[in-house]
């Protein structure tokens, strides 16, 4: 059947991507990676996945565009405002008790989630004692995160989200607008380390008080989700906090026992003290 050949081609393509460039998508959730690969194949002008594989193996310049199809997730500043409100009201009081803090935005993509946290921490007076780690496997996305420039037409949504999240300042304090772009202030990046890190293949690199990893694990299959969540668990300090996406349910994870619910509706968990 034609269908089966296509699935085989996809498996081989992902194997080639891994063997040649060490990007490992082999255990991503198959349905959405297939959809993204189809989109990439069409837009990059290849007739088949085998042809795309051939191109990829011989022309390293194709790697970066392909990765952009496979990994970029557009987000918003203060996406799901109720999540940030819960961080502000339920998590920040705990974080205040620490003299220094490490926060990890795992899978930060183009930086929207990062800037939301930095602004929130500044408003709460915690920024000066905090080190933020913003990691992703996509270099282009990381560069965009580090630039902090977003289309001006998205600012209205960001501003509304920020207000709903309980924002204590005006979002316009943090960016300057010019030529249809909003450029976020470089002072927001003073306490941020941007780094290439993979939840699939890399290891623990620091002890965190809070990890925000929303709508990243949904792209992994069950086994890989357990691997990534294990890594996050091992990265958290005792009683450290973890924020997942609103539809990511801990109940299907192997490591569920290692966490307790902190804010159930917002999928904010706390590492058990045991």
């Amino acid at each position: 059947m034609l269908e089966k050949v296509e699935d085989l081609e996809i498996r081989l393509l992902l194997e080639a991507l891994y063997q040649r460039y060490h990007y490992d998508f082999r255990n991503y959730a198959q349905a959405s990676i297939k959809r993204r690969l189809k989109q990439a194949r069409e837009q990059m002008g290849f007739r088949s996945f085998s042809a795309l594989q051939d191109g990829l193996l011989h022309r390293p310049a194709l790697l970066s565009p392909l990765l952009n199809y496979l990994t970029v997730h557009v987000s918003e500043l203060f996406r799901d405002p109720s999540y940030f409100r819960a961080i502000r009201e339920k998590v920040v009081p705990h974080l205040r008790t620490y003299p220094s803090l490490k926060i990890w935005i795992a899978g930060c993509s183009t930086g929207e989630e990062l800037y939301s946290f930095v602004i929130l921490f500044r408003e709460e007076g915690l920024e000066q004692r905090t080190l933020f780690y913003a990691t992703d496997i996509n270099q282009d996305a990381l560069a965009k995160a580090e630039a902090g420039i977003y289309d001006l037409d998205r600012i209205q949504l960001f501003t509304e989200n920020h207000r709903k999240s309980g924002g204590k300042s005006s979002l316009s304090d943090y960016y300057s607008a010019a030529y249809g772009k909003a450029s976020f202030d470089k002072s927001l990046r003073k306490h941020v380390v941007f780094s290439d890190h993979s939840l699939v293949s890399d290891a623990v690199f620091a002890e965190m008080h809070l990890v925000s990893c929303r709508n990243v694990l949904i792209y992994f299959d069950r086994g890989l989700q357990d691997r990534a969540l294990g890594l996050i668990k091992d990265s958290l300090a005792r009683k450290g906090f973890l924020g997942l996406g609103s539809k990511e349910s801990m109940r299907f994870f192997q490591h569920a026992d290692s966490f307790t619910e902190c804010v159930r509706d917002e999928k904010i968990y706390q590492k058990s003290s045991k």
Binding site: E3, A29, Q30, A31, S32, K34, R35, R36, H73, V74, S75, N215, L217, I218, Y219, D221, R222, Q225, G245, S246, K247, E248, S249, R251, F252
Partner: protein
């Protein structure tokens, strides 16, 4: 019709969805053998009450899908607002934040195409009332994988554009009224 035994049902609906689904889902028994996956176009920015509303009317278990939830019998799964719902080949559900399709997230095409991949000829795809083009391509994927295509008859639909587009894309689809669709689903389970 094809020879394969039906294993799952996917339903797509947009404008007028609540009434249409209310004419189908409450008629299915509590232990209905085929899992039912549903995408209804809902606004991204608020909680959807659709699953709760239908749960109150149904003997089936009805809820919004969680990521990597195993698919089981006697259950209707709704795509949550602002997420695509997909079926994995190992018969669990996954969610994605990928770009909207035809301005919609969730998208009917995304569910139907992934379910066609996972279930092939054992899938029943049903397109109900709606005012846009989402679903036509997805239903075609169901047909191409050997599955069964059913479309609500446009004359009886609250909004006819979506069923009409689906019929144009899949001329072999069975065109049925809501009560005929409900009867078909009850019957096919026993087949």
């Amino acid at each position: 019709m094809n020879g394969a035994k039906a294993e799952a049902v996917v339903i797509g609906a947009s404008a007028g969805a609540t009434e249409a689904l209310s004419a189908i889902l409450p008629l299915l028994p509590a232990d209905y053998a085929l899992p039912v996956m549903i995408v209804v176009h809902v606004p991204p920015d608020r909680k959807s009450v659709l699953a709760e509303l239908l749960q109150a009317k149904c003997r089936l278990e009805v809820h919004e899908a969680a990521d990597k939830e195993p698919i089981g019998r006697g259950t209707a799964y709704f795509a949550p607002p602002d997420y695509h719902l997909l079926v994995e080949r190992n018969k669990c559900l996954s969610l994605s934040n990928d770009d909207p399709v035809f301005y919609s997230r969730p998208s009917i095409d995304v569910l139907f195409e992934s379910a066609a991949d996972a279930y092939g000829p054992s899938l029943i795809g049903i397109v109900l009332t709606g005012a846009n083009q989402d679903a036509a391509k997805g239903l075609r994927a169901v047909v191409e994988a050997g599955g069964t295509a059913i479309v609500q008859s446009p004359e009886g639909a609250y909004a006819s554009a979506m069923p009409e587009a689906a019929i144009a894309e899949c001329p072999g689809a069975r065109v049925l009224s809501l009560s005929e669709i409900a009867a078909y689903l009850q019957e096919i389970e026993k087949a």
